[in-house]
């Protein structure tokens, strides 16, 4: 039975361009207090345009109704459980949004004098210190804009370190359970990728890893807990194997929500890692971004951190641009500061104990789901679950129903689907991460939905194959979209 939702009115809305009327606008500028200037004469007639062809022309009311109507066509964390594995969809506290808009912070210009920027630098410096404490690393840069950008920064630093030692080496080892960003990053940093197979417990196989590590290996990129939600129990040994051959260990910190306050990568052999402030530290996903991907390093990598470095002198914060061994800049200015403000607000609200409690609750919630769903779905890896669990659609495929179909049917029950078909090492993966945000009541509704769907598959697989049935938009034709791409509106 579907308990979480009933259908309700959801208004149609044309595109802005279809709703436009000539001369309409939603904003009034103040009268100009200086003489007007003829654009064509100061810029040159060839350099000026007549108009922006096709640009929208709507009133303020039409604009707000447009975006509000469209917003009602989205699912969101504010509407309920968002169990996307490895995405850590947790509640985004609204105080974070409020403080990020405080005028002295939001309107700070990156080139304003340092003496007039001490408040924002204090926020950044404090966050760097706290993230170093949480990860057990020695230094942090806040410059990277997202997780993949952090990976790129970290791998560039490893390369710079090895180059300084005389040989940048040729390849990176990446477990087959890794996020796609890892191998894509390797290529951007000029490395070849060698995949490492997982064993039947879902962990890196230490023996085959040891065989793969030679003098050509620059680093291992490892996610811990990995994308099966399994803690790599041999991580210390793994790090020793890499270090013995002069290689480094990079950790993808996408799953740090399982470790905060419980274990620190710096204590188990990691040399460099990134964090996703938009996962572990509650900054909003915003429909795809912005994120922020701070990179934390051990002491030996500090000289290679991006330029500039935030430093504290006796009485003030200052930027240091004199860093001859740095990998350079990975973006203009200093990073996604608005996300740093939000992450610090989240950390302040929780405190050290609260952060640890969040980890415990996240792991509790994932284990609760695993225990209750296990009788109905196949769990290919039996190793203990941390913050997420990965089932397989193996039992359901016998009825011709796949993970993607179960995901779509979940929508009818009022839930966003789990992560579908990832990690690639699990056939028909159903990757579920509830986070600490959810109450037992919401988890129970979700579990009920999955159990109910399992029964539907046995009794009436068509129902699931054609889902969702209750949404305003039914299954979309993604094949035609890719075959004949229409990526902009035309009159």
């Amino acid at each position: 039975m579907i308990k979480k939702v009933r259908q309700h009115i959801n208004q149609n809305e044309p595109l802005l361009f279809e709703n436009s009327s000539p001369g309409k606008r939603g904003y009034q500028l103040p009268p100009l207090d200086v003489p007007t200037v003829d654009a064509a004469s100061v810029l040159g007639a060839a350099n000026t345009r007549a108009e922006i062809e096709g640009f929208p022309e709507v009133s303020e009311v039409e604009a707000i109704r447009h975006f509000t109507r469209l917003s009602t066509q989205n699912y969101a964390i504010d509407l309920g459980l968002y169990p996307l594995g490895s995405c850590t969809m947790k509640y985004n506290p609204r105080v974070n949004e409020q403080v990020a808009r405080i005028e002295g912070l939001a309107w700070a210009h990156p080139y304003q004098p340092e003496s007039l920027s001490q408040g924002i630098l204090e926020v950044m410096g404090t966050l760097e210190t706290i993230l170093a404490e949480i990860t057990g690393m020695d230094a942090v840069t806040l410059q990277p804009a997202a997780g993949a950008h952090g990976e790129f920064t970290g791998i560039l630093m490893i390369r710079a370190l090895l180059e300084a030692q005389g040989n940048p080496r040729k390849k990176l080892l990446i477990p087959d359970s890794a996020h796609g960003t890892n191998p894509a990053t390797a290529t951007m940093a000029g490395y070849k990728v060698e995949n490492i197979k997982s064993n039947d417990r879902g962990m890196v196989d230490v023996e085959s890893l040891a065989r793969a590590v030679d003098e050509d290996v620059a680093a291992l990129m490892i996610t811990n807990p990995n994308t099966l939600g399994v803690f790599e129990e041999n991580i210390t040994r793994i790090a020793e194997i890499l270090h013995a051959k002069g290689a480094q260990v990079y950790m993808d910190g996408a799953n740090m929500n399982a470790l905060v306050g419980v274990a620190r990568p710096g204590d188990f052999g990691i040399d460099v890692m990134h964090l996703n402030l938009h996962k572990t530290f509650s900054t909003p996903h915003g429909g795809g971004g912005p994120g922020s991907g701070p990179v934390a390093v051990k002491k030996h990598l500090i000289p290679f951190l991006p330029t500039p470095r935030l430093e504290r002198t006796a009485d003030r914060w200052t930027w240091n641009y004199d860093r001859p061994q740095s990998v350079g800049r990975v973006r203009a200015f200093y990073g996604n500061i608005g996300m740093h403000i939000r992450a610090l607000a989240y950390i302040m609200a929780h405190g050290g104990d609260g952060l640890r409690n969040a980890t415990l609750d996240a792991v509790l919630n994932a284990n609760y789901i695993r225990a209750l769903i296990q009788p109905y779905y196949d769990l290919p890896h039996q190793a203990p679950t941390m913050h997420e669990c990965v089932f397989s659609d193996e039992r359901q495929t016998k009825q011709g129903v796949h993970t993607g179909d179960i995901a779509k049917r979940l929508i009818d029950y009022g839930f966003h689907p789990y992560t579908v078909s990832f990690p690639l090492i699990v056939h028909g993966a159903m990757m579920i991460e509830p986070t600490e945000t959810e109450s037992k009541a919401e988890l129970d509704l979700f579990v009920d939905a999955l159990i109910s769907i399992a029964a539907e598959i046995d009794q009436n697989p068509e129902l699931v194959l054609k889902a969702p049935h209750h949404t305003r938009t039914t299954r979309v034709d993604e094949v035609t979209a890719a075959r004949k791409p229409i990526v902009r509106w035309k009159p």
Partner: protein
């Protein structure tokens, strides 16, 4: 819940962690604080910054008014707290706004395809350069010295391990515009793309057509960069460019000390399959209704892994939505009038100051500070609660005693006069 799992206490769930990896002490982080204390802390930090100062800084980050509707829309939880729209049936809100965004970026830039956003302008530039390498099969990049210096630094960082040699060409000392003769002398058969910015870092409007002709004559692409998006309300779009890489900060995105902003890449339809990042496409659902979905994902890292066009995953969707609302609120006439106001304010100020360059400019220009250094003039301005311009010798050693000043619709006449007075002293 513990009994359902078969555990007796929470800590049992971590008993499989080896002893040597466990943290056996509390984190050294202060206890949790109330909402009031958190707001109070950040207010105090805000007060320590340049609160209440008028500013004439531009250089890639511009003070434009943010219509209230922008925050009203992006504060809706349905936009703010949703994930990347992979599940199209319950993400039509985000998908439709991205499709509108892509369309408006095309209208603004004169291109045929635009992606759903990049991190910012600075990272869009190397992504565009890498795209040009894939399109042309060549590897050399020629970048103008009038492209934002920090964008060029980022380009070098990205280029260093991709077999992508980057070299620079100069500007004409009088006009501040591209040195086309220098460009002609440096472009060759290995050149994949030349990169120019307009208005350039000095605020000068470049001759895009001529740069494009030189690039195309040698079989290279022209990458056009913009950092001040409001300029496109008035300036001819770069129709002759092959790839446009830009920064949308001017479109209702707060400066926030440099980010988060939103970058874009736009191009011709024929290069669509080489574009990095996400794309939204139009399609139909099973009932035949128009619907939108993410498309051409085979370019992306989660499908193509080490062969992807880029490693970008998370982008700047919510910031792109800010820009979308901004473009909607101002619309066709409003953006033009906004650009006109910027032009008028900058030219009112420039008329009272000694100009360093003779080229045409939009809302930013380089002024000479005469016998004083730029820092000395800026110190005098700070005394009047005014943050002056950017001292250019920070990036261009040859441009001593000059500063880059920007005036926008938010620059009040009294403050413009105050700047002129300090210069005249």
């Amino acid at each position: 819940m513990l009994s359902a799992i078969g555990a007796t206490k929470l800590e049992d769930l971590f008993s499989h962690l080896p002893a040597e990896v466990r943290l056996n002490r509390p984190l050294a982080i202060a206890p949790g604080k109330s909402e009031y204390e958190i707001v109070d802390y950040f207010r105090a930090r805000g007060e320590e910054n340049a609160n209440g100062f008028a500013s004439f800084l531009g250089a890639g980050v511009y003070h434009h008014y943010r219509p209230v509707l922008v925050d009203t829309v992006v504060s809706r939880g349905e936009f703010l707290t949703s994930y990347t729209p992979y599940q199209a049936e319950i993400a039509q809100g985000t998908l439709t706004t991205i499709f509108e965004f892509q369309t408006m970026i095309c209208q603004l830039t004169g291109m045929e395809v635009a992606n759903a956003s990049m991190y910012d302008g600075s990272t869009a530039v190397p992504e565009a350069a890498m795209m040009a390498m894939r399109v042309t099969g060549r590897d050399r990049i020629l970048v103008s010295r009038t492209v934002h210096p920090e964008y060029r630094e980022v380009l070098l960082t990205y280029a260093q391990h991709q077999g992508m040699p980057v070299s620079e060409f100069g500007y004409v000392s009088d006009s501040g515009a591209l040195d086309l003769a220098d460009l002609e002398s440096k472009i060759d058969k290995e050149t994949a793309a030349i990169i120019i910015q307009s208005p350039n870092f000095f605020g000068i409007v470049e001759n895009v057509k001529q740069a494009a002709e030189i690039a195309h004559k040698h079989g290279a692409l022209l990458i056009f960069v913009f950092a001040e998006a409001v300029s496109l309300g008035l300036l001819e779009p770069p129709r002759d460019a092959d790839i446009v890489a830009g920064e949308l900060q001017s479109f209702a995105i707060s400066p926030v000390y440099g980010g988060p902003f939103a970058g874009i890449i736009a191009t011709k339809e024929k290069y669509m399959r080489q574009i990095p990042g996400r794309l939204v496409g139009e399609t139909k659902d099973t009932r035949g209704n128009r619907a939108f979905c993410l498309t051409l994902a085979t370019r992306e890292q989660h499908i193509r892994r080490e062969k992807a066009t880029s490693n970008i995953c998370t982008n700047q969707a919510l910031i792109a939505l800010m820009a979308t609302v901004f473009m909607t609120v101002y619309g066709k006439e409003g953006l033009r009038e906004l650009a006109q106001q910027n032009l008028a304010k900058a030219h009112y100020l420039s008329g009272r100051l000694p100009l360093r360059f003779s080229g045409p400019f939009f809302n930013e220009f380089v002024a000479s500070t005469g016998k004083r250094t730029a820092d000395q003039v800026n110190q005098a301005l700070l005394g009047k609660q005014i943050i002056g311009g950017l001292a250019l010798d920070r990036f261009y050693p040859e441009l001593k005693n000059t500063m880059l000043l920007c005036a926008t619709e938010m620059s009040q006449r009294a403050k413009l006069d105050a700047v002129a007075e300090v210069f005249a002293q």
